[in-house]
């Protein structure tokens, strides 16, 4: 029986955490969960190394801290790490993880050769499961507090015996809800042409649809929208019911972030844009013409 440990950054009630539990259930069930409440790189890593000793498999989600910690955790435990897993299985006692490679153009199955296998997953892609609770025994759910040090840099790193610490945390303005949990997403690409397009056209549309806003890498690199809106191979991996891609070409690196979307719709002036090979329905036209009309129709339908 493999000892599977879940490492959860954030709340154990989150969809991501539940997905981890679900993934663990596919392997036979999680033995215990470690919930990390406050993160500072070194204290947390040290604590996790201790807490995960003896584990065969450590599962994490695809958030920033998990990705930063996982490979180092694996290294210190003498194990192996792999990330962005979308499926798991044991074969001949070894863990195999499925993940996208080559910018989303191919799927690979990776077999880990060292123990523990430390894997971070697209947790929301797994059906939700049940996270071990304290009632299942001592140590079944452990809470780690990493920030035993206050974030203000009054004391130097040296006196604290640390070499890195987070001194400031900021959220970009906007909805509190996470893109990965969104049901409906309205996303814009290079063809939007500037921040005004996002603010004046896409934002009101998103409101009408109850959607969250996102963008392709091109729009983020151009500085039109914050990097937190980026969806793609590097960026958020989303799994909405509806993904409306506006003025997005649909290159594989972007598609890699929306492979789990149930329905993709597209508005693009280029009839040959790759997005139309993935969309269920769409319009070939300039979004500046279509979106105002769309908003009008949607408003009518609402009333």
């Amino acid at each position: 029986m493999s000892e599977i440990v879940l490492v959860i950054f954030g709340s154990p009630a989150d969809r991501a955490a539940l997905g981890l539990a679900g993934a663990a259930e596919q392997l036979g069930g999680a033995a215990r969960a470690i919930v990390v409440e406050e993160y500072q790189p070194e204290p947390v890593l040290d604590a996790l190394v201790e807490a995960c000793r003896g584990a065969d498999v450590v599962l994490l989600s695809n958030d920033t801290y998990s990705q930063e910690v996982a490979p180092r955790l694996a290294h210190r435990l003498g194990g192996a790490c792999v990330g962005d897993g979308t499926a798991l299985s044991f074969v001949d006692g070894r863990l195999r993880v499925t993940r996208q490679v080559y910018g989303g153009k191919a799927n690979a199955v990776i077999e880990l050769r060292r123990t523990p296998a430390v894997v971070w997953l697209r947790a929301r892609s797994f059906a939700p499961g049940v996270i071990p609770s304290e009632s299942e025994g001592p140590g079944a759910r452990v809470v780690l507090r990493g920030a035993s040090v206050e974030p203000h840099p009054h004391r130097s790193l040296a006196t604290l015996g640390m070499t890195t610490r987070i001194i400031e945390r900021n959220t970009t303005g906007g909805s509190e809800a996470r893109l990965e949990d969104a049901r409906v997403i309205v996303s814009g690409g290079r063809g939007i042409g500037g921040p005004e397009g996002f603010a004046n056209e896409l934002e009101p549309l998103a409101k009408l649809l109850g959607a969250q806003l996102a963008a392709s890498r091109a729009a983020c690199d151009a500085g039109w929208v914050p990097p937190t809106w980026q969806v793609g191979q590097t960026g958020k991996k989303v799994a909405p019911e509806l993904y409306l891609a506006i003025a997005i070409t649909g290159a594989s690196q972007h598609m890699a972030g929306i492979s789990e979307a149930k329905t993709i719709a597209a508005i693009n002036t280029d009839p040959d844009a790759p997005i139309f090979k993935h969309a269920r329905f769409g319009i070939v036209d300039d979004y500046r013409k279509v979106v105002p009309l769309l908003r009008q129709k949607l408003a009518e339908l609402k009333s």
């Binding site: 490979p71 290294h75 080559y102 890195t164 990097p227 019911e241 769309l294 129709k297």
Partner: protein, 250 residues
């Protein structure tokens, strides 16, 4: 500040899907007609390093572990005004895993000298493991910060999170992996610098010379291109509105 940037040369990730094929025997992408390019995140890392050097002063060394053709990546980096370059030539026929790569890079870095900041791209556009930087930090025994986009003096590091960004304070030496941002889009080199870059010396080692052995970390056991065919239905605005409203309402 002694800055080192690790840069990887990969098959062009923008190869059209039609031309993308798998070599079933070797379980990797078939080279085909694809060109070799520098991984974009490594270029973001170099650009971040260049901007940091403008603030903090110092030198930038670029390091690459790959086929002999990776020299192109290093020459381009020198054209962007990196100060020195080193190449570790991979003579083996097998694709290295992130741990082997980290060990090789660490061995080279120890030979190159003491560095304050070591930058890598957050992941490579081919395998996208996203671990080499973290494992490199462990091999060197130094701290690690992921998903950074800006470096500042005092060693302040700004990095991206799902909901925004954070500022970290770090002590040198530190390994930092870089992600893309509107400010670290790689600069275009001047032609004179491109021409001069070809005449600059390049340090070169083989993996054997560095005394590193391949690590058994993980292995690719399957590799396939998923088949997905959708027929897109082109509709008018009315229909689009209705369909969207339907799906959004759930």
């Amino acid at each position: 500040m002694n800055i080192l940037v690790c840069m990887k040369q990969i098959l062009d990730p923008e190869v059209p899907a039609r031309d993308f094929r798998i070599d079933a025997a070797r379980l990797e992408a078939d080279r085909g007609s694809a060109n070799l390019v520098t991984n974009i995140f490594c270029e973001n890392a170099l650009e971040t390093a260049l901007q940091f050097r403008e603030k903090a002063g110092g030198t930038i060394t670029v390091l690459s572990f790959g086929a002999p053709g990776a020299e192109d990546t290093l020459r381009k980096a020198l054209a962007m005004k990196a100060d020195a370059a080193a190449l570790i030539v991979d003579e083996s026929d097998t694709k290295p895993n992130p741990l082997t790569a980290a060990r090789v890079l660490a061995a080279a870095i120890r030979k190159l000298g003491a560095f304050d900041v070591i930058l890598t791209g957050r992941e490579a556009g081919d395998w996208g493991a996203g671990q080499t930087g973290a494992l490199l930090a462990e091999e060197l025994g130094v701290p690690y910060v992921a998903f950074a986009d800006t470096l500042d003096v005092g060693l302040r590091i700004k990095r991206q999170t799902e909901s925004g960004w954070e500022i970290l304070e770090a002590q040198a030496p530190v390994v930092v992996s870089i992600t893309n941002d509107e400010h670290n889009v790689p600069r275009i080199p001047k032609v004179r610098d491109v021409m001069m870059a070809h005449r600059q010396p390049l340090t070169q080692w083989s993996v054997a010379e560095l005394g590193v052995e391949a690590a058994d970390y993980y292995e690719v056991v399957e590799l396939a291109i998923p088949r997905k065919e959708t027929r897109c239905e082109l509709v008018d605005v009315d229909t689009l509105a209705r369909r969207l409203a339907e799906v959004a309402a759930g």
